[in-house]
Symmetry: C2
Subunit: 151 residues, 2 copies
DNA sequence: GCCAATTCCTTGATATTTGAAGTAATTGGC
DNA sequence: GCCAATTACTTCAAATATCAAGGAATTGGC
C-alpha cells in the first residue's frame, strides 16, 4: 500500500462524512420548516427545471434512484397535488410528470430557504476555494461515471 | 440571490452526486466480491481501529447512523460470528462490541480490495489536488459540525 | 404487416433506515 | 442512601430504498 492509497482513503472518508452531515442538516431543516424531505425536494427541483415535464425514467436517472422509488415518490406527490402525471402523447408506455401551480408555489418557497441554508454552509469557503472544490469534484465524478481499469 | 449563492448550490449538487456515485460503486463492488455492504464494512472498519472494542453508542456516532440501526447491523454481524457483544464490566447498560478472529480476517480481505478501489478512483487527481480537496472539505465539515447563525 | 427484442413503468417482496417510545442501569443533588 | 434526571440500548412501526419479475407499448428486421 502506497502513501497515496492512504491519502485517498482519508479523502474518501472525509468526502463521505461531509456530504452526509450536510445532507442530514438539509433534510432535517426541510422537515422542520416544510414537513418535506430531501428526496422530495430533489425530485421537485428537477421538475422545476423542466417546464415540459419529465418522464419517470428521466427522473430516476437525475435523482440517482431506482425506478420503483420514483413511482413511490411521484405517487405521494401526486396525492398532495404537487405534481400531475399524464400519458405521453407520443409513447403510451411513458408517463410525463409535471409540477402543478401549487407545486411550483410550494417548491419556490422551499427553494429559497434551501438556497440560504446552502449559501450559509459554503460561505466558510472563499469563492476561489469553491471553484477549486467544484472543479476537482468534477474530475472524480467523471471518473466514476465512466469507470475504467487501473492499468 | 447573489451569484455566490448559485455557485454554492451547484457545488453542493456536485458534492452530493459525486459522493453518491462513489458510494454506489463501492457498495456494489462489496456486494459482488464479498456479499457485503458499505454500512457493514464501515462498522467493521471502526472496530478494526479499536482493539478494545466500542460501545453501541460510539459506533452509531462514528458511522453516522441511528442507534436502532446499529442494533440491527450488530445483530446481523453477530449472527455471522464476525463480532461479539459483551456487557461492559463498568457499566451494565453498555454493550461492548469487538471483532472476532474471523471478523478480523474477513475485514482484512475486504479492506485491501476496498483500498484499491478507492485509490483507483482518486488516482485521477494529483497528490496536490487530493490534499487541496481534503483541506477544503475539512472547512465545510467543521462548519456543519458546529452550525452558527449567518450573521 | 408480423414477431421477437427492447423499453417504460409498476408491482410486490425485501432490505434498510429512521424516529419515537420503552426498559434497564447509572448518576448527582440532597 | 433515595429519587429524579440522565444515559445506553432495544424495540416496533413507519418511511424509504432496492431488486426482480411482469404487463403494456414500441421498434426493427424481415
Amino acid at each position: 500500500m502506497s502513501t497515496g492509497d492512504l491519502e485517498s482513503l482519508r479523502l474518501w472518508l472525509r468526502l463521505f462524512t461531509t456530504t452526509t452531515l450536510v445532507e442530514r442538516q438539509l433534510d432535517s431543516a426541510l422537515k422542520r420548516e416544510f414537513s418535506s424531505t430531501l428526496p422530495r425536494f430533489d425530485l421537485l427541483a428537477q421538475l422545476e427545471r423542466a417546464p415540459d415535464g419529465l418522464r419517470m425514467g428521466e427522473l430516476s436517472e437525475r435523482i440517482l434512484t431506482t425506478g420503483g422509488n420514483v413511482t413511490w415518490l411521484v405517487r405521494a406527490l401526486e396525492a398532495e397535488k404537487l405534481v400531475t402525471r399524464r400519458v405521453s402523447p407520443t409513447d403510451r408506455r411513458a408517463a410525463i410528470v409535471r409540477l402543478t401551480t401549487a407545486g411550483k408555489r410550494h417548491f419556490a418557497a422551499m427553494a429559497q430557504a434551501h438556497e440560504h441554508w446552502i449559501a450559509d454552509i459554503f460561505a466558510t469557503l472563499s469563492p476561489d476555494d469553491r471553484r477549486a472544490l467544484h472543479a476537482r469534484l468534477g474530475v472524480v465524478k467523471d471518473r466514476v461515471r465512466s469507470p475504467r481499469s487501473t492499468t
